[in-house]
């Protein structure tokens, strides 16, 4: 059976000629329905670019790029776009400062012509653990964690089968991060979501995802199982180095 997301030989290039930057160079991945898939890598490894290409935010080339069995074409219809929703890294930048929470959540409903908007908005707020009093607030009246909840509510209000998360907790404190990660894993269970989580934090990715892709310099290094990542049973030296570095500082013996 074909997976929820099939990526074959994905290439993303910025710029032309001698100044071209090959951000993603021939990535092939298959992600099953209901799977939690993680992508880790350092800055510039192309991990966020994969998500952007998948969601059609940037142009890309590929032999195959399908979501839910449908080809994700260069020009996407509204229906295509409903399949994938995005939660960005910085909750301070991803919400419009002059839109209330209500307006931010209403916009996708208007664009996609869904009715019963008030009920959908209040349901979405409840789902992410916000109370009705937050509905008419502006982003500056919310904390970082609350803003990220709004961003998640906005992504889920269209009931997409796939949720793309780009470093959803790296701008948040540890205690708030724990709340958001718990929320994501609860929503994933309840809505049978397929999620792709991009992060530089191995702990976060291993907490949420069953399979994890490691990227470096725009290429896939390997795809490992969560348990193998924990036990260190990985194939590539780069992965081992990443695991070791994330365990903290090691003083040299000399």
């Amino acid at each position: 059976m074909a997976g929820m997301i099939e990526i074959e030989d994905l290439r993303v290039t910025f710029g032309h000629g001698s100044r071209a930057v090959h951000a993603v160079q021939g990535l092939t991945l298959s992600i099953a329905e209901g799977e939690s898939f993680g992508i880790v890598g350092e800055s510039g490894s192309g991990k966020s670019t994969v998500l952007k290409a998948l969601s059609g935010l940037i142009p890309s080339e590929s032999r195959q790029l399908t979501v839910n069995g449908l080809p994700a074409a260069e020009r996407r219809s509204k229906a295509d776009r409903r399949h994938l929703q995005f939660v960005f890294q910085d909750p301070y930048a991803s919400l419009h400062p002059r839109q209330t929470v209500d307006e931010a959540l209403r916009e996708p409903l208007v664009i996609h012509g869904l009715d019963d908007r008030d009920r959908r908005i209040s349901d979405a707020l409840r789902e992410v653990g916000l109370s009705p009093e937050h509905r008419f607030r502006y982003p500056h009246q919310l904390s970082g964690g609350q803003r990220q909840r709004v961003a998640i509510a906005r992504a889920l209000i269209l009931r997409p089968p796939v949720l793309l998360l780009d470093e959803p907790t790296s701008a948040l404190d540890v205690s708030v991060q724990a709340e958001i990660l718990n929320l994501i894993s609860r929503l994933k269970q309840a809505n049978k979501l397929t999620i792709i989580l991009v992060s530089h934090d191995l702990g976060v990715v291993a907490h949420l995802c069953q399979r994890i892709a490691i990227m470096q310099f725009g290429k896939l290094v390997e795809v490992v199982d969560r348990d193998d990542l924990r036990s260190g049973a990985v194939g590539q030296a780069y992965t081992s180095r990443l695991i070791e570095a994330s365990r903290g500082f090691v003083r040299n013996a000399d």
Binding site: S175, A178, R230, A245, F249
Partner: protein
């Protein structure tokens, strides 16, 4: 730790506002020797305020008060601007979080570092340049001659952070305050930068105040740790004992951190207890 480099007793920072006083730092007391002392806490816990207060960098209308604030046997409380000028950058330095905002964008890297030498050590131009070059080499920049002539925007994040460290260390300070020096860096680069700081502490006998929100880094890198919450120091312990910390807040922070080695089905969330601030 042998002698005390910095003694802080009941340091408080308050900002007056329309709705009353905001207590950014409340009665903080600790001592720092020639060691690596970590300060951990979440946003708003007062950890950066602490670093700034020690350097006399709290902007008006902030009010700094303390029973004692001694650096190398001298009180910092009555310092004039002139006194600060001779201390800052020379004997106490601070590395800020983000090199993008802390380096002068229109000045070459080499000139920025050399300026520190000329200002604080009274070096000649030639001497300052050779010191700057040597320092760039000491922070493991591979081709110091090239980097010397570059502008900040031409550097990567890791390089920029190393340049900052070089600039802060070129005057050979006795105390270095590092405010989240590695938070903007990739994990592999982060460990390289920590290694440089580590070597400088052990070779030069410098005192290091390491401010961070990352428990893993602090517990593996520092000798001792202060845990801060709401402007207070809740607890002090040896870094190696952080896993066996006493205070419920520290324990909750540890439990809320997703870890590669200790998988949890659900992360513990923090229930804040108002009594922690009493």
């Amino acid at each position: 730790m042998s002698e005390s480099l910095l003694t802080v007793r009941n340091l408080s920072v308050t900002y007056p506002g329309r709705t009353g006083m905001t207590h950014a730092l409340r009665n903080a007391s600790f001592e720092l020797g020639r060691e690596r002392l970590g300060i951990v806490g979440e946003s708003g816990s007062g950890k950066s305020t602490m670093g700034r207060a020690i350097l006399g960098l709290i902007p008006r209308p902030g009010i700094v008060s303390a029973d004692q604030l001694d650096f190398a046997g001298r009180s910092l409380l009555a310092n004039t601007d002139r006194d600060w000028q001779s201390l800052r950058g020379r004997r106490i330095s601070m590395i800020m979080q983000d090199p993008k905002y802390s380096l002068n964008p229109v000045k070459r890297i080499g000139d920025q570092i050399a300026e520190t030498c000329r200002l604080h050590l009274g070096s000649t131009r030639k001497d300052a340049e050779s010191r700057a070059l040597a320092m760039l080499e000491a922070v493991q920049i591979r081709n110091p001659d090239t980097v010397f002539t570059l502008y900040p925007h031409q550097l990567s994040g890791g390089m920029g952070q190393r340049v900052m460290i070089a600039m802060m260390l070129v005057a050979e300070p006795d105390l270095l305050i590092a405010d989240e020096p590695t938070s903007a860096l990739d994990v592999t680069v982060q460990n390289e930068v920590l290694r440089i700081l580590d070597r400088l502490v052990s070779e030069r006998g410098m005192g290091l105040l390491f401010i961070s929100h990352n428990l893993t880094v602090v517990s593996s890198f520092c000798d001792r740790v202060l845990i801060m919450y709401g402007g207070r120091i809740l607890e002090q312990c040896a870094a190696a004992d952080l896993a066996r910390a006493q205070h419920p807040y520290t324990r909750a922070l540890m439990a809320a951190t997703p870890s590669l080695d200790h998988p949890k089905a659900e992360l513990a969330t923090l229930v804040r207890d108002p009594s922690w601030l009493e």
